[in-house]
């Protein structure tokens, strides 16, 4: 038996010698080209600021920018019932050669004003946009393993760049903040980050929450619920079971509960009339279980399916909801729970225990700070109670 320490030292030397050392100029060159991008962004920021009076004097030119719904992808988000933004994207092929335009509304989508973005065609794929306040908006794109964000605090007239890796201290989750992971990548969906915190609307910087929920975060709700509760879904590293954490005090304390469903589900949490509902969907996008909390997320009751200990899609499909693609649930103003996608609508009048099919297909539903947002092709609608919708188009 050879000497283990000598073997380890030998392997260390062998491995070290085998790792090539690329030219340092290559690394520096990458950093310089990123810097050029940022300088370019700032240059356009200056141009936008200088150009604003001219742009205001040219309403006809601005009106010509209305997007063609047949060729355009949209990301729409609202700060409140009146103030919202729409990021439109038109690409030559796939995700290449894309042109992006930002629109702002101050009247709930009745009228939209274009905002010039500091982005050139072909300058990456800006695929996330979050509205943090009437004048605060942030747009992000993946760059390598990071996300670059641009943000505006003046309604999209001028822009700053945020590019950070580590949290800039800790602070309570700001009401206008964006819940995210430390890496600052796609907050909704699977951020894949270890530290929970918020992206500050004023600086675009990531700030860690005062305390961390006792779970490994996989998904966060970027915007708080209607009463200001933040939520994080994840797993316990030891049990690999699903956990849901809810904070009602800006991340100062978290109520963390184990939910008896396999890890890796896609979660959505909404609140209505003091009741929280959470839905879990599998990788195929089907809702597999529905949970209800009447104590602010401290405890959860599984309401559907109410008999199956293992929420496999096959068992779920027997009672209807499992047939539906995952969409953000609606805790409606009349106490009902609605699950909907672009094809069907399911309504529960008994606190999420049973669902009946209802006519009409409201479209894809998401929760924004301005209420529920419904998307069907290039047509949108906003609702505060999930029952009464105000329809609009962008542009």
């Amino acid at each position: 038996m050879p000497d283990l320490d000598a073997e380890l030292r030998g392997l260390r030397d062998e491995l070290t010698a085998a790792i090539p050392l690329p030219d340092v100029e290559r690394v520096a060159g990458r950093a310089r080209s990123r810097r050029r991008l940022q300088v370019g962004v700032l240059a356009v920021v200056i141009a936008v600021v200088v150009g604003v009076p001219i742009a205001r004097a040219l309403p006809v030119w601005l009106a010509a920018a209305r997007p063609d719904p047949a060729k355009t992808s949209y990301v729409v988000d609202f700060a409140d019932a009146k103030h919202g933004y729409a990021l439109t994207r038109t690409c030559q092929r796939g995700t290449e050669g894309c042109t992006f335009t930002l629109y702002r509304t101050g009247d709930g989508g009745e009228t939209w004003q274009p905002r010039r973005l500091p982005l050139a065609p072909g300058d990456g794929f800006w695929d996330t946009m979050y509205v943090l306040g009437p004048d605060d908006v942030t747009i992000g794109k993946p760059v390598g393993v990071e996300t670059t964000r641009i943000f505006s605090t003046d309604g999209g007239l001028s822009w700053g760049v945020a590019y950070d890796l580590a949290p800039a201290g800790t602070a309570p989750l700001a009401p206008g903040g964006l819940l995210s992971g430390a890496c600052g990548e796609q907050p909704y969906g699977f951020g894949g980050c270890d530290v929970v915190g918020s992206i500050r609307p004023d600086t675009g910087q990531f700030v860690a929450a005062p305390t961390q929920p006792q779970l490994v975060p996989h998904q966060v709700g970027p915007a708080p619920t209607v009463t200001g509760k933040w939520w994080v879904a994840g797993t316990n590293p030891l049990s690999e079971r699903s956990f849901l954490a809810v904070s009602a005090d800006g991340g100062g304390t978290w109520s963390t509960s184990e939910l008896a469903t396999p890890a890796g589900r896609h979660w959505a949490v909404v609140e209505g009339d003091g009741v929280l509902y959470a839905t879990a969907a599998n990788d195929a996008g089907r809702v597999t279980s529905v949970w209800r909390s009447t104590d602010g997320g401290r405890s959860w009751t599984r309401t559907w399916p109410d008999t199956a200990p293992d929420d496999s899609p096959q068992e779920s499909s027997s009672s209807g909801a499992g047939e539906f693609l995952a969409s953000r649930p609606i805790a409606a103003g009349d106490g009902s729970l609605i699950l909907a996608d672009t094809k069907r609508t399911l309504v529960s009048d008994d606190e999420g225990r049973t669902f009946r099919r209802e006519g009409g297909a409201p479209g894809w539903v998401t929760w924004t700070r301005g209420g529920y947002l419904r998307t069907q092709g290039g047509t949108f609608a906003l609702s505060g109670d999930g029952l009464h919708w105000r329809q609009f188009t962008v542009g």
Binding site: G10, L11, E14, L21, V24, R26, E146, F190, G264, D283
Partner: protein, 162 residues
């Protein structure tokens, strides 16, 4: 022209940081990508990095953050694509005089592999291994002991079979 101090930092720390990333990812190719990304970030912030007392420690934090993010992304991709978890596939197959030891390390559980690579290969002291892995020093020491036993057992078995 790159600043001299940055070139020197790169020359001295690069390979050690690759091994740190290797401990976290189990893939040398990915480890090299992550380390280059970390140095790119450092160069972009070189005015700030230059003022740091321990520049390599700062870079190590960046490397660890990037490696964790990469790990989570690939875990999620595995889940979405319903891939089964397997041993990391090396982009550079183990070779050389100490191939048996390298293979034995790769076959260790992830927790044990990480402490072995960080302590013995990246040459980090116990307290820095503890900081990188975010576990107490005592845990690092116990894992090192378990890893050594496991490696010794596997290498003895190899010798017996030879």
């Amino acid at each position: 022209m790159t600043e001299t101090w940055f070139s020197e930092l790169y020359r001295v720390s690069y390979r050690r940081l690759v091994l740190t990333a290797y401990a976290m990812t189990g893939d040398l190719g990915v480890a090299e990508e992550i380390t280059q990304e970390a140095f790119t970030v450092a160069y972009g912030r070189r005015v700030r990095v230059l003022r740091l007392d321990n520049q390599e420690a700062w870079l190590r934090t960046v490397v660890v953050n990037l490696a964790r993010r990469r790990h989570r992304r690939s875990a999620m991709a595995d889940r979405l694509l319903r891939r089964q978890s397997t041993e990391p596939s090396p982009t550079v197959p183990p070779m050389g005089e100490h191939v048996d030891l390298h293979v034995a390390i790769r076959r260790l559980d992830e927790d044990l592999r990480a402490v072995v690579v960080l302590y013995y290969l990246a040459d980090l002291p116990v307290d820095e291994v503890s900081a990188v892995l975010d576990v107490p020093s005592g845990t690092v020491k116990s894992r090192l002991a378990r890893a050594r036993n496991a490696l010794a057992a596997r290498l003895s078995a190899e010798v017996d079979h030879a």
